[in-house]
């Protein structure tokens, strides 16, 4: 079949890109090897966080936050978003020092979204926190959403504007003649002048096919969730010197992450929990909230996600072809960026330019001859 743009990967980046293109009248088809949102996009922690982003990501993250705050106008659905703030707790003086330096750095870049709060303000916001913390870094209107719901909202909205989403369409072969790309899948052959690689952990071989291999590594960050509890905390909690992401979801369950990796059999797409690391995660939670010791963990899982060596994504034109684009490698912090990434790609494709600074995410940074 023929279309204007072929998007490989039905995750959030792919659906968001398709939605932005469709809004501007372009036709596109999404090809997914399984079903949309089967991996990282559907099962991530759902953090909507600007707090503590890499400086290169801040402009994109800030633009994306604006889109999340008005997400209903984009996808006709609030994606279960909440914005009670995200907090990085300082447990001691050194932590506080570290956070103050961070706040200064963000200020110097000309942004005001991250601020230091002292002890009293911290305990007012998080009375359940263990005593004797020093203070925190806060981004007051950060928050979280529900990833699978968001994915569905993006996909559905895109489809309502004419996007076609083909599941079980694994990409077996890509080639190009003078006019267009030809992509062969078990579902048949697809042709389009423009190709977009949003294949997440599976994006590496596609980039390699285009002649621009990348050092992408697949990983599976683990998450665990508790039984439902009466609401006792609003903001999302992290810590200055610990691996932690901790929030009480809309339904009262606690979602606990910390970028600890599961054992991954990438070929089989199988993950196995690393209980030693989850034990560390549990100890981290109990260090900050000792009163939760009898709370029961009811589920753990890990979604398969693409990691780049510098933990920055690739958001880029192809360096080898004038008609191919990439957005992958978000290294476990892509959920928040998905609306703006779709917008950037649609601008690159339709206008050949974007107002956002994407040079740090250029695929050429991995070229051997640089």
């Amino acid at each position: 079949m023929k279309t204007d743009t072929l998007i490989i990967g039905g995750g959030l980046m792919g659906c968001s890109t398709a939605l932005q293109l469709a809004k501007r009248g372009a036709r596109c088809v999404i090809l997914d090897k399984d079903s949309p949102g089967r991996h990282a996009s559907g099962v991530n922690a759902g953090g909507l966080r600007r707090l503590n982003r890499h400086p290169a990501e801040i402009p994109l993250s800030v633009a994306s936050a604006e889109m999340w705050h008005d997400i209903e106008s984009l996808v006709d659905n609030d994606c279960d978003t909440r914005f009670p703030g995200q907090i990085r707790v300082a447990e001691n003086r050194e932590d506080m020092q570290k956070l103050q330096e961070r706040a200064a750095l963000v200020r110097d870049l000309g942004y005001a979204h991250e601020e230091i709060i002292e002890r009293d303000a911290l305990y007012q916001l998080v009375p359940a926190l263990t005593p004797n913390c020093e203070g925190a870094l806060i981004c007051r209107d950060d928050g979280y959403g529900r990833p699978f719901h968001a994915l569905n909202a993006f996909r559905r909205k895109a489809c309502s504007l004419g996007v076609e989403c083909h599941s079980a369409a694994r990409v077996d072969q890509i080639d190009r003649d003078r006019k267009e790309w030809r992509v062969i899948t078990p579902k048949g052959e697809y042709r389009a002048p423009v190709l977009v690689n949003c294949a997440g952990a599976w994006a590496g071989p596609i980039a390699a096919t285009l002649g621009e291999p990348v050092p992408l590594k697949a990983g599976a960050p683990m998450l665990m969730i508790s039984e439902r509890l009466p609401r006792f905390i609003e903001p999302v909690i992290g810590a200055a010197s610990r691996k932690l992401s901790f929030k009480q979801m809309q339904n009262g369950t606690l979602l606990i992450g910390g970028a600890h990796m599961a054992e991954l059999d990438f070929k089989q797409q199988l993950t196995e929990m690393n209980w030693a690391k989850l034990a560390v995660s549990a100890r981290t939670v109990l260090a900050l909230f000792p009163q939760l010791k009898d709370v029961r963990i009811v589920r753990t899982w890990a979604g398969i996600e693409a990691f780049m060596p510098d933990h920055l994504p690739v958001i880029s034109r192809s360096s080898t072809s004038a008609h191919a684009y990439h957005a992958f490698g978000f290294s476990a912090h892509g959920f928040q960026m998905s609306p703006v990434v779709g917008k950037i790609l649609s601008q690159l494709i339709l206008d050949d330019q974007t107002e956002l600074p994407i040079a740090p995410f250029d695929i050429r940074r991995f070229r051997k001859d640089r």
């Binding site: 079903s35 949102g37 559907g42 099962v43 699978f148 719901h149 569905n152 559905r156 508790s226 039984e227 610990r242 691996k243 339904n251 199988l270 196995e272 929990m273 209980w275 030693a276 690391k277 989850l278 034990a279 560390v280 549990a282 100890r283 981290t284 939670v285 109990l286 939760l292 010791k293 009898d294 709370v295 029961r296 963990i297 009811v298 589920r299 753990t300 899982w301």
Partner: protein
Amino acid sequence: MSTAGPKAHYSLVIIGAGPAGLAAAAAAAGHGLDIALLDEQRAPGGQIYRAIESIPSERARLLGSEYRRGEDLVGAIRNSDVEYFPDTQIWSLNREREIGLVHGRSAAMISADQVVLAGGAIERPVPYAGWTLPGVMNAGAGQILLKAQGIVPANGVVLAGSGALLLLLAWQYMRAGVQIKALLDFTPMHNHLRALPYLPRALLARHYLLKGLQYKLDLKRAGITTLQNVSDLQADGKQRVESVSYRHRGQQHTIKTDLLLTHFGVIPHIQLSQAAGCRHYWDKSQQCWRPQVDEWGNSSVNGILIAGDGVGIGGARTAEHAGRLTALEAVRALGRVSQHERDRLARNDRKWMREEQHIRPFLEAFFHLPGKLLAAPADDTVVCRCEEVTAGAIRKAISEGHGDSNQVKFLTRCGMGPCQGRQCAESVTHIVARATGKSLPEVGLFRVRPPITPLTLEQLGSLFPDETE
């Protein structure tokens, strides 16, 4: 017998102390192996021989002669070198045979060279209007109370469903003097025809048929009639069940009761074999998912064997034979007997197991549940009890294009509660298959997300104390 927790490693770990696990442990004992028998209950025997060591003899008589069989099975373990750990929940098992457990209140992670899963069966959850009301329970729960504590319904009971256990419980209650207000059999009439071709083979195991007929006759003599070919079960009540309604011979009936016990057959408890990554398949005849095993109980995962009803429903005696066979295979794999010796020791069990199976095709056809019962609960019927997800919500997700169990789970939270989908996984598969026209294997089962039984943060945090970020 040990009061401390299990050691960090065993050559053989057997999970489940029902007929399969007990027989496996006894067969593996005496070969100089380090063996642990782990069981979630407080005392050995499984569901069928529950409380076998502590039951007063009068109550044991009530339960029938088959029940006493458990005494020898348990006795063999008590007099062996097997380390038996009751009160032990297994929350994780992986293909490296690492076993996450909670013994008493303490969590531990142990490992084994060979694992025999003998986790048995669970009662098939079938959602219908009112099934979540207090006062509605599984027949199995009724039996547990009877065996363990001698508790029987004081104000009478309505029994409903289909399957051998329903008949057995009715008979046991009758002997215990319980008032049976109604015995509603949901087995469709045409199942008689369906089962007929299997009758000749079943006659080779006619003691089972005769026992069933005897139970029926005894019930009839006691004035308890079974209503056959009943449909449209519904429990009604405000705070708890007050009445049960059903359809019989084209007529709607209602009966007042404060207790309804239902039973719709049993299915293998596969959460551990699923967690370990063992291959499973859909068995049309047993209407359930079963792990794939060879004749020795080897699953598709190296070093993990499965015996008893956890493989497929075969009953207590089959489970015993299978338990011994898997144990012999595990002992062989550990180098303690030769293949030749294993075959010699296994000869009788293999023969008897074949004989035991004569009755199964007949029973499976006779108690085959209609698709309408499994796949067509009304839209307002709750399917997932933990997250209170209705059949209607599931169908809505399907109509929005979510054509497999896991997508329905993501979208509706069905199966995301503390029971890990044990109560709703099968129903969701049936509902999705019926709504999409797909086959059950295509629709699939929920992926397992351990812990299989909940684990507190303190228990989890107590593991691997030397591990750091």
